[in-house]
C-alpha cells in the first residue's frame, strides 16, 4: 500500500485533474449557449438560405408590331451552348477536376474563345446555378451538332434554345424600336427596378424602354428545396412565366420604309447640289416625321444616319457601340427627330405671326411693307430676298413669301411694348408654348428634347452663368478691338433682352431651338383647326392570348388658343406657300397633282453659323381635309425649298399613291435661303 503522504498527493492530483475536466465541459456549455441561444437567429437564416433556392425562368418578351399587325420585333429561338456550372466548376470558380478542365478546353476551342473567357462566362454571378449558364448565344448549328454527336467529350455542356430578339424587318424603325440590354448594377439599386434581378434584360431605348412594363412579362419563379449536393428534393412554390404583352404601334410599316428610303435618297442626292461658292452641300444628317393630322399618331419617323438593332442581340460589341457613339459618324444612335435641337428658322413664322396678332401689333389682314432690310440701332437685319422690296404684305402673304422684315418690324414693336410694361408679358413665349415649342410633346419614346424659346428670364439666367467668362474675355482682348467692345458690352449688359434678340427670335433664329417632332406637332395643330394632339407611337397593348390589355387613345394636349380668323389666315398663307406660283415651296411640288391633293407647308432655312444652313420643310395635305403632316430636316442641307421640300413631296407622293418610293427620284427645288 502507498504511504499516507502519497495517498493525499494522489487525491490532490485527482482533484487537479477533475478541475481541468470540468473546465473543458464548462467551455463547451458556454460556446453552445452562445451559438444556440445568443446567435441562434442568425444561424436559422443561414440554414434557410442553405436549403431554399429561387430559380427564375425569364418570360418571353412581347413583340412590337406595326399598325397592320406586321412584326417589327419578335422572339426567335436561338441555338445556344450552355453549361452546368456545378458540374464543371468548384466553389472557387476553378475547374472542378482534370476532366472538367479538359471539357472546358474543348468547349473553348469549339467556340473559338479563350478558356478563361469560357470560365468567366460560366461563373457569371448574374446567372442562377440551377439552370445551365449560357456560354454562347446564337451559335451555328454545326457547333450544336458537334456537341450532340460527341456527348462523352462534353459532359456538363448543354445545347439548348433560348429566345432572343429578332427583327424581321431588319433595321427598319431602329430608332423607334430601340434595343434591350442587361440591366446594370446602378439600375438594380433604383426603386423602379425593384422587381428586377441581375442578368435580366431591360429595354434600353425606344419603345423597348417606354413600354418595358408591358413587353417584359412576368418571370416564372420556383422555390426549390435542395440538399448539400444541390439535388432538388422538393418544389415549394412554382409559378410559370407569363409572356409579355405585344405592342401594336401606330406605325405604317410601308410608309416607314418609304420615309427612311426617301430621306436617305434625298440626303445623298442633295450632296450633288453645288452652292454659290462652288462647294457641294454637306447634308450630313437628317430626320423626318409623319404624323396623322387628326390623331397625332406617328405614322413614320426616320433619323439618318441609322444603326442596326440586330447588332445588339446577345450583347453589342464595344467596337460597334463606339462607332455609333462617335460624333465623327454623326452619332447614329441619336433619334434626331425627337432629340435633335435646331433653330426652326422660317417654319417658326406662323408662331411669331400669331404672337404679333395676339400682342396687338397687327390684325391678321393688316399689312407691313416687306422691305429689303430692317435697321435697328446700327444693325441691319436683312430679308432673305436680298435688295428687293416686295411691297405691303398681310400675314398670309408674309408666310407665302417668308418675308423676314414683316416679322422683324412687328417683333420690334412688340418688344418695345413689352419694355414699357412693369412686368413684361412675353407673348411669343406663351403662344410658342401653345404651339408646342419649348416644352416636350410627351411622345411615348424616351429621349425627347424640349427645345427652347428664349425670353428675358432665360437671357438673364444665361448671362449670370456666363458673366465671369465674358468679363475675363473682355480683359484679355486687346483694347480697341471689336472683341473688346463686344465682350465689355456682354460683361456689363449681357443680361438684357434687347430688340435685336426679339427680332432674331421672330424668324426662328437667335436662341430658339426646336426638334422636328415639335415642328410636326405644331403644324398638326394648325392642320387640325387648332387642336393639338399628343404625338404617340403606341396603339394598343395586346395580351399573348390576343385579348386587349389597353388601348392608347388619341389625347388632346391643348388648343392653339388663337382666334379663328388668325388661324384661317395662317392656313391660307401656308397653303399659298405650295399652291401659289410665287410660294417658296412651290418649285418642289411642280409635278405634284396639287389640284387633286392640295398641299400646305412652310419652308425654312436655319442659320447655324459657321455651318451650311439647315434645311426645313413642313407640310400637310390634303389642305381641305388634312390626313398627314410631314416634316423633314436636313442638317447642312442648304435651303428648305431646295433640299427638304422635295423629300416631303416624295413622302407625300408615296403616301397618297401618286408615286411610290421605289420609283421616286430626288429633284432639288429652287434655292431659297429663307
Amino acid at each position: 500500500m502507498a504511504p499516507p503522504s502519497s495517498e493525499s498527493s494522489s487525491v490532490l492530483r485527482l482533484t487537479f485533474f477533475a478541475v481541468l475536466v470540468i473546465a473543458l465541459f464548462v467551455s463547451l456549455f458556454a460556446r453552445l449557449w452562445f451559438l444556440q441561444v445568443l446567435a441562434g437567429d442568425r444561424y436559422v437564416e443561414l440554414a434557410d438560405s442553405n436549403r431554399l433556392r429561387t430559380v427564375i425562368t425569364e418570360a418571353p418578351r412581347g413583340a412590337i408590331l406595326g399598325s397592320d399587325g406586321e412584326e417589327l420585333v419578335r422572339n426567335r429561338p436561338a441555338l445556344t451552348i450552355s453549361a452546368d456550372r456545378r458540374a464543371l466548376l468548384d466553389d472557387a470558380g476553378e475547374p472542378a477536376d482534370e476532366e472538367a478542365a479538359r471539357v472546358l478546353e474543348r468547349l473553348a476551342v469549339l467556340l473559338e474563345l479563350d478558356v478563361d473567357e469560357v470560365i468567366e462566362r460560366l461563373s457569371s454571378q448574374r446567372r442562377s446555378p440551377f439552370r445551365p449558364v449560357p456560354i454562347e448565344i446564337d451559335v451555328a448549328p454545326e457547333i450544336v451538332f458537334a456537341v450532340q454527336e460527341r456527348r462523352e467529350l462534353f459532359p456538363g455542356v448543354v445545347p439548348e434554345t433560348l429566345p432572343v430578339r429578332e427583327y424581321p424587318q431588319g433595321s427598319l424603325a431602329a430608332h423607334l424600336v430601340g434595343y434591350i440590354g442587361e440591366i446594370s448594377e446602378a439600375e438594380l439599386l433604383r426603386p423602379d427596378f425593384a422587381d428586377y434581378r441581375a442578368g435580366d434584360l431591360v429595354g434600353r431605348t425606344g419603345l423597348e424602354q417606354s413600354y418595358e412594363a408591358d413587353l417584359r412579362g412576368t418571370a416564372g419563379q420556383r422555390l426549390l428545396v435542395v440538399n448539400a449536393r444541390g439535388d432538388v428534393l422538393d418544389v415549394q412554390r412554382d409559378r410559370d412565366p407569363i409572356q409579355g404583352a405585344d405592342l401594336v404601334t401606330t406605325l405604317d410599316l410601308d410608309l416607314q420604309a418609304a420615309t427612311e428610303e426617301l430621306l436617305v435618297d434625298g440626303i445623298e442626292a442633295s450632296r450633288d447640289i453645288q452652292r454659290d461658292d462652288g462647294q457641294f452641300l454637306p447634308s450630313v444628317a437628317g430626320s423626318a416625321v409623319v404624323l396623322d393630322a387628326r390623331s397625332g399618331a406617328v405614322l413614320s419617323m426616320a433619323s439618318y444616319p441609322s444603326y442596326d438593332p440586330r447588332e445588339f442581340v446577345g450583347g453589342v460589341t464595344h467596337a460597334y457601340l463606339a462607332e455609333l457613339l462617335d460624333e465623327e459618324n454623326e452619332s447614329p444612335l441619336i433619334n434626331r427627330a425627337i432629340a435633335g435641337e435646331y433653330p426652326p428658322g422660317s417654319v417658326f413664322k406662323p408662331v411669331s405671326g400669331a404672337a404679333m396678332v395676339e400682342g396687338g401689333q397687327i390684325t391678321p389682314r393688316g399689312t407691313v411693307e416687306c422691305a429689303p432690310a430692317f435697321e435697328l440701332g446700327g444693325n441691319t437685319f436683312r430679308n432673305w430676298n436680298r435688295g428687293v422690296n416686295e411691297g405691303p404684305m398681310d400675314l398670309a402673304d408674309a408666310l407665302r413669301r417668308s418675308c423676314d422684315t414683316y416679322f422683324y418690324e412687328l417683333a420690334f414693336d412688340q418688344w418695345l411694348a413689352e419694355e414699357r410694361q412693369e412686368d413684361p408679358d412675353e407673348v411669343l413665349i406663351d403662344v410658342a408654348e401653345r404651339f408646342g415649342f419649348g416644352v416636350r410633346a410627351g411622345l411615348d419614346l424616351p429621349g425627347e428634347k424640349a427645345g427652347r424659346v428664349p425670353g428675358r428670364d432665360w437671357r438673364e439666367d444665361y448671362w449670370l452663368n456666363n458673366r465671369d467668362d465674358y468679363c475675363r474675355q473682355a480683359e484679355l482682348a486687346d483694347p480697341g478691338t471689336a472683341a473688346r467692345v463686344a465682350f465689355t458690352d456682354l460683361c456689363q449688359y449681357g443680361g438684357l433682352w434687347r430688340g435685336g434678340d426679339a427680332v432674331n427670335s421672330s424668324i426662328g433664329q437667335g436662341d430658339v431651338l426646336s426638334s422636328p417632332l415639335q415642328v410636326a406637332s405644331s403644324y398638326q395643330a394648325i392642320a387640325n383647326d387648332g387642336v393639338r394632339m399628343r404625338p404617340h407611337l403606341g396603339g394598343r397593348v395586346v395580351a399573348p392570348d390576343g385579348s386587349l390589355v389597353r388601348e392608347i387613345e388619341p389625347e388632346v394636349i391643348g388648343d392653339l388658343g388663337i382666334d379663328d380668323q388668325t388661324l384661317a389666315v395662317i392656313q391660307e398663307g401656308l397653303e399659298e406657300v405650295v399652291m401659289h406660283p410665287r410660294g417658296t415651296g412651290r418649285s418642289a411640288f411642280a409635278d405634284f397633282p396639287l389640284d387633286e391633293i392640295p398641299v400646305a407647308g412652310k419652308t425654312g432655312t436655319a442659320e447655324v453659323r459657321p455651318k451650311v444652313p439647315y434645311a426645313w420643310f413642313v407640310g400637310y395635305a390634303p389642305v381641305d381635309d388634312p390626313k398627314i403632316v410631314v416634316v423633314v430636316n436636313v442638317e447642312q442641307g442648304g435651303g428648305g425649298s431646295q433640299t427638304a421640300a422635295p423629300i416631303v413631296r416624295n413622302i407625300m407622293a408615296h403616301y397618297f399613291g401618286v408615286e411610290l418610293a421605289e420609283e421616286a427620284r430626288f429633284e432639288a427645288g429652287e434655292e431659297i435661303l429663307d
Binding site: 498527493s9 485527482l14 485533474f17 467551455s27 444561424y43 434557410d48
Partner: protein
C-alpha cells in the same frame, strides 16, 4: 463426543454463516455501479436516435432500409454489453499482469492496418475488414496504452523513476507513431494525452512533467517545420478558425461552417426530431459519425445538447469517484485514464462541431456511429465497474 461433534459443527455452521454474510457484503457482484451502466446505455440510446435521424433521408433517397446503420450499431451494442460483462468479471489485477500481451496484440493489429491487409477510407488507412465488419485497431490500442502505462506506474509504487517514465513514453509513442501514419492525428493525440494524465495521476515528479511538456512542444514545432504533418492535416487544424467567413469554401471549413449552422439554428429547444434541415439535407458531412453532435444540437437544441453533455459529465463524475475509491494505484490510474480519454474525446469532438477545436476524426463516445468505438467504450465501462466492484 456426539454432543461435542455437534457442538463443534454448530459452532462451525454459525461461524460459516457469519463468514458468508461477511463475504457476501464484500462480494464484487454486490458492488455494481448502476448509475454508470444506465448512463452509458442512455447515451447509446440517444446515439441510436441521432444516427437514425442523421441518415433517414439519405438512406431513403438511396433506396436502402432506413435502419441500415441502426441495426449494425444495435449489434455492436449487444457485443459491447457482453464485452462489458466479461471485462467486469475478470479481476482487473489479472489484466495488469497480461498488459504486455495486450500491448503486443495492439501493435500487431496496428501494423496490419498499415500493411496491404488494411482498408483505406477517405484517404486514411484505419480499418481491417473482417467478415463484413470493419475493425478499427486504434480503438484497441487506446486500451493497450492505458493499461500498459498504468501497470508500469503501478509497479513503481507511487515513486516512478526516470526509467519507468522512459519505458512508458516508449510504450506510448510506438503506437502513436503507427496511428499517426494511418494518418489519424486525432487518435494519436488521445494516446499522448492519456499518458500525460497518467503521469500526472501516477506521481511522476513535477520537474519531469514540465520537461516532458517542453519536449512535446519542441517536437510539435519540429514536426510542423519538417512537414511530418501533412498539409491537409494542417489545413484541417487551422480551417476552423476562419469558418465564419462565407467565402471559405474549402472542404474542412465548409464542414465546420455547416456544422455551426446546424448547431446554431437548433436554438434553445431545437427544430424537433427529423425536422433538422441541415441534418436531413446532408449539409453536414459525416453527421452520423464524427459530427453526430450536430444532429442532436439541431433537432433538440441547447436543451438536447446539454442533456448529452450532462450525461457525459455524469460518467466523468462516476469515473473520478471510482478512481478515488480504487483499492490500488493501478485501479486508480486506469479509472483516471478512462476519464481522461472520455473527457478529451468529448471536448475535441463537440468542440469541433461548435468551432472551438480543429476538425480531427475523433468520434463522440457512445453516440457516434461506429461499432469498434462502441464496443471499446462498453469495455472501458466494464473496466470501471471491475475496479469499483473490487475496491475493498
Amino acid at each position: 463426543m456426539d454432543v461435542g461433534y455437534l457442538q463443534d459443527r454448530d459452532q462451525r455452521r454459525m461461524r460459516e454463516h457469519v463468514q458468508s454474510r461477511w463475504t457476501e457484503v464484500y462480494a464484487p457482484i454486490r458492488h455494481l455501479d448502476p448509475v454508470l451502466v444506465l448512463t452509458a446505455l442512455a447515451l447509446s440510446g440517444i446515439g441510436f436516435v441521432a444516427i437514425y435521424s442523421a441518415k433517414l433521408v439519405a438512406l431513403t433517397t438511396q433506396g436502402l432500409p432506413t435502419t441500415f446503420y441502426l441495426s449494425r450499431q444495435l449489434m455492436a451494442l449487444a457485443i459491447g454489453v457482453v464485452v462489458m460483462v466479461v471485462v467486469a468479471v475478470i479481476d482487473y489485477r489479472h489484466v495488469r499482469v497480461y498488459s504486455p500481451a495486450v500491448a503486443v496484440l495492439a501493435l500487431v493489429l496496428l501494423g496490419l492496418v498499415l500493411s496491404p491487409l488494411g482498408t483505406e477510407i477517405n484517404g486514411s488507412q484505419r480499418w481491417i475488414v473482417l467478415g463484413g465488419f470493419q475493425l478499427q485497431p486504434s480503438e484497441l490500442a487506446k486500451l493497450a496504452v492505458l493499461i500498459t502505462v498504468a501497470a508500469l506506474l503501478h509497479d513503481s509504487d507511487g515513486e516512478p523513476g526516470p526509467g519507468t517514465v522512459l519505458l512508458a513514453l516508449l510504450v506510448t509513442l510506438v503506437p502513436t507513431a503507427l496511428v499517426f501514419l494511418q494518418p489519424d492525428l486525432g487518435t494519436s493525440i488521445v494516446f499522448v494525452w492519456t499518458t500525460a494524465v497518467l503521469f500526472l495521476l501516477g506521481g511522476v515528479k513535477a520537474r519531469y512533467l514540465v520537461g516532458l511538456v517542453i519536449g512535446g512542444v519542441i517536437a510539435v514545432i519540429v514536426a510542423l517545420q519538417t512537414e511530418v504533418i501533412e498539409s491537409y492535416q494542417l489545413s484541417r487544424l487551422t480551417a476552423f478558425m476562419d469558418a465564419g467567413d462565407a467565402s471559405a469554401a474549402q472542404t474542412t471549413a465548409f464542414q465546420t461552417r455547416q456544422s455551426l449552422i446546424a448547431v446554431g439554428s437548433g436554438q434553445f429547444a431545437g427544430k424537433g426530431l427529423f425536422e433538422g434541415t441541415q441534418t436531413s439535407l446532408s449539409y453536414v458531412p459525416e453527421n452520423h459519425t464524427d459530427f453526430i453532435f450536430t444532429v442532436i444540437a439541431e433537432e433538440f437544441g441547447f436543451l438536447g445538447g446539454s442533456v448529452v453533455l450532462g450525461l457525459l459529465l455524469l460518467l466523468v463524475w462516476r469515473g473520478l469517484r471510482i478512481a478515488i475509491l480504487a483499492k490500488d494505484t493501478f485501479g486508480m490510474l486506469v479509472a483516471g485514464g478512462i476519464v481522461a480519454i472520455l473527457s478529451l474525446q468529448v471536448f475535441v469532438n463537440v468542440g469541433m462541431t461548435i468551432g472551438i477545436m480543429p476538425v480531427t476524426g475523433i468520434p463522440l463516445p457512445f453516440i457516434s456511429y461506429g461499432g469498434t468505438s462502441l464496443i471499446v467504450w462498453f469495455g472501458l465501462i466494464g473496466l470501471l465497474l471491475n475496479i469499483h466492484m473490487r475496491r475493498f
